[in-house]
């Protein structure tokens, strides 16, 4: 009992409220006879689908830059990698891994530039990051129209120029992770490959923070002056963290796209950022402190919430209230985190 109380004290208030809400939804789901197994399958799929993107928040938060609001910067790199892989006509796992490695390479480049910029604007990273994200998405919208991609599956049928809004991945690397070692237990479908990939990514980031570079990042985030005195170069640590976050974001969007089955261009990258930031905060992170556990818990809670609230709430109310709920929950969570940080820093 004491242990339970102790644990409750450590859990964040919003995390607790949202979890309780989730449990309540499950009970309602049983009452209104929504098929639970299919809900669970969807939840698991969406957790794996979004998890890697949420993971991208960890390095920047830990180094003291705050959540990476410039997530679209990395996503653009990922999209480029995926597009090149498609242009080459690669399919299946080959296509997937080529996309991943290409996008990682591109993201290292973009990340270096982005990290350099963020270093110049220390203290305003969140705001500058947000608008860098918006700018690059608008800029790349022009590029999607002009870049010389020629694969007829990718460009507009009429005119033959400019990429389409959504590209179908069926012939390329759609669902490759989801279908890898997929099995069914009691009606619940488990996309083993997807979950394995997410777990592997988490493990890699976890191990990275055990290395010397990772520890340096942590140190800079906790106390910059102390870090300098122990011989760490904080600028370099921040640059590494931003590049890492950008790379994870790039890989994250490929995982997302293969699970979704479509590659979304133009405005779509903008809608990835705030849910990802909210997820890690729901998992108990703050804008100065985050670990892998926050990523996993946050993604599980937030994605399950979104998945089951749609069918459950549509039984109770009319229309799609989930979209509105997503807005309120995710932005409310970010707002909460932004307003409470000074106490924690002090």
């Amino acid at each position: 009992m004491d242990k339970l109380l102790e644990w409750l004290k450590r859990v964040d208030f919003p995390t607790l409220v949202i979890s309780l809400f989730l449990v309540a939804l499950f009970f309602v789901a049983i009452f209104v006879e929504v098929p639970i197994p299919s809900l669970l399958s969807d939840s698991i799929r969406r957790i794996g689908m979004n998890g890697v993107l949420v993971l991208a928040m960890v390095p920047t938060i830990r180094v003291g830059v705050g959540p990476n609001f410039g997530l679209p910067v990395g996503i653009i790199g990922g999209l480029l990698g995926a597009l090149i892989s498609m242009q080459l006509g690669l399919s299946g796992f080959l296509g997937f891994w080529v996309a991943v490695f290409l996008s990682a390479a591109i993201c290292v480049g973009i990340g270096l530039g982005y990290g350099w910029l963020l270093e110049k604007v220390r203290g305003q990273e969140m705001m500058v990051g947000t608008y860098m994200g918006y700018s690059i998405v608008a800029f790349m919208s022009i590029m999607w129209l002009m870049l010389p991609f020629t694969n007829p599956d990718m460009v507009w049928a009429i005119g033959g120029k400019g990429l389409r809004y959504t590209l179908t991945l069926d012939k390329y690397f759609g669902h490759v992770l989801n279908n890898f070692l997929k099995f069914k237990v009691g009606g619940v479908e488990v996309p083993t490959g997807l979950i394995l990939f997410f777990a592997g990514a988490c493990l890699l980031v976890y191990l990275f923070f055990r290395t010397k570079v990772g520890l340096a990042i942590d140190l800079v985030g906790q106390n910059e002056k102390y870090a300098i005195s122990s011989g760490v170069n904080p600028k370099r640590a921040r640059l590494v963290a931003v590049v890492l976050s950008t790379v994870i974001a790039g890989v994250g969007i490929i995982v997302y796209a293969q699970s979704y089955g479509f590659l979304q261009l133009y405005q779509a990258p903008l809608f990835m950022t705030f849910p990802a930031v909210a997820s890690i905060l729901i998992g108990g992170a703050s804008i100065r402190r985050a670990n892998i556990r926050n990523v996993v818990i946050g993604t599980v809670i937030f994605q399950t919430l979104l998945t089951i609230s749609l069918p459950v709430l549509s039984q109770v109310t009319r229309g799609d209230v989930t979209e509105v709920m997503r807005l309120i929950v995710s932005n409310g969570m970010i707002l909460y985190a932004l307003t409470r940080a000074p106490r924690e820093a002090g």
Binding site: V121, G123, Q124, V137, G162, F274, L327, N331, L338, T339
Partner: protein, 351 residues
Amino acid sequence: MEKLKKVLISYAVPIFFSILCVSAVLVAKIPPLFLASEIVRRLSRNTFLVLSLIIPIVAGLGLNFGIVLGAMAAQAALFFVVDWKIKGIPGVLVACLMASAISVVLGWLAGLVLNKAKGREMITSMILGFFANGIYQLIFLFFVGSIIPYRTRQFLLPEGVGLRNMVDLYGTVASALNNAWVVRIGTIRVFILPLLIVGVLCLFITFLFKTKLGQDIRAVGQDMHIAEVAGIDVNKVRVIAIVISTVLAAIGQVIYLQDIGTVNTYNSHEQIGLFSIAALLVGGATTRKATIWNAIIGVLLFHTLFVVAPSAGNRLFGQPQVGEFFREFLAYAVIAFALAMHGWRTKRILM
């Protein structure tokens, strides 16, 4: 020479945009009379909103992305004015009063939140806008027609709950202010009343900064700690600055929407924040310094570009879409640039 260099650097953004505007106008080959009439109209439509951003900047809160709260209040008020079928200028007045009342409450709440996030006001006000947007959607998609009575069936969704995407102001308050006094110069129609209101607001802002409150706002904006020591209630002044800004934004949005004539129920307020802020920054304002002239020049430049960008894009690249994305890119990029400059400078001061 040194002085010239300084001027060039501090006016870099407006100069760059002037050049961009002129070249875009030349490329687009838009008839000058059409362009002039569009710009005059946009000046009377958008300037009030842009001016509403000035006070929080002077108070040191940076760009108030929270003006969307005021815009939402204005739309909420307009929906009911339309429902009650109050027409013409009385309708606009009632809408302004209601919107102001809601905005005082919203602005006060926003001020309290921003006081808890000192040093992160801009990102917080932006997220606050998104959060409020969620609440707004909840109210107007699910509560209107069910909990909140609403009579005009034609604006409701088929099931009778929730507003449609478009709410029409024609026949009620559309162009009420515009048509009150129109002066024709050739083919250009100048709407005098909105321009007069903008003029009054400019006088009000100038006057405000001469009062005790205005001086306090300036003091808080320069240095919170010194202001605190000097006996100014910093938190209160900051809340007042946000309240004024939100109320002005609400009135500005009413003026804007009566000109447009239709309310995009779930979109109109979203764009307003972005375009107003971009316009102010284009006019040479920074996150720490903004004047009335920045606002007016900004609206002039930004909206010239806005009008000509699609056809310029069409001429240059054969795709009007390129121009549209380009104009969006410029709006975002100018904000990103201003923010980066802000971060750069604050960092230098801290060092």
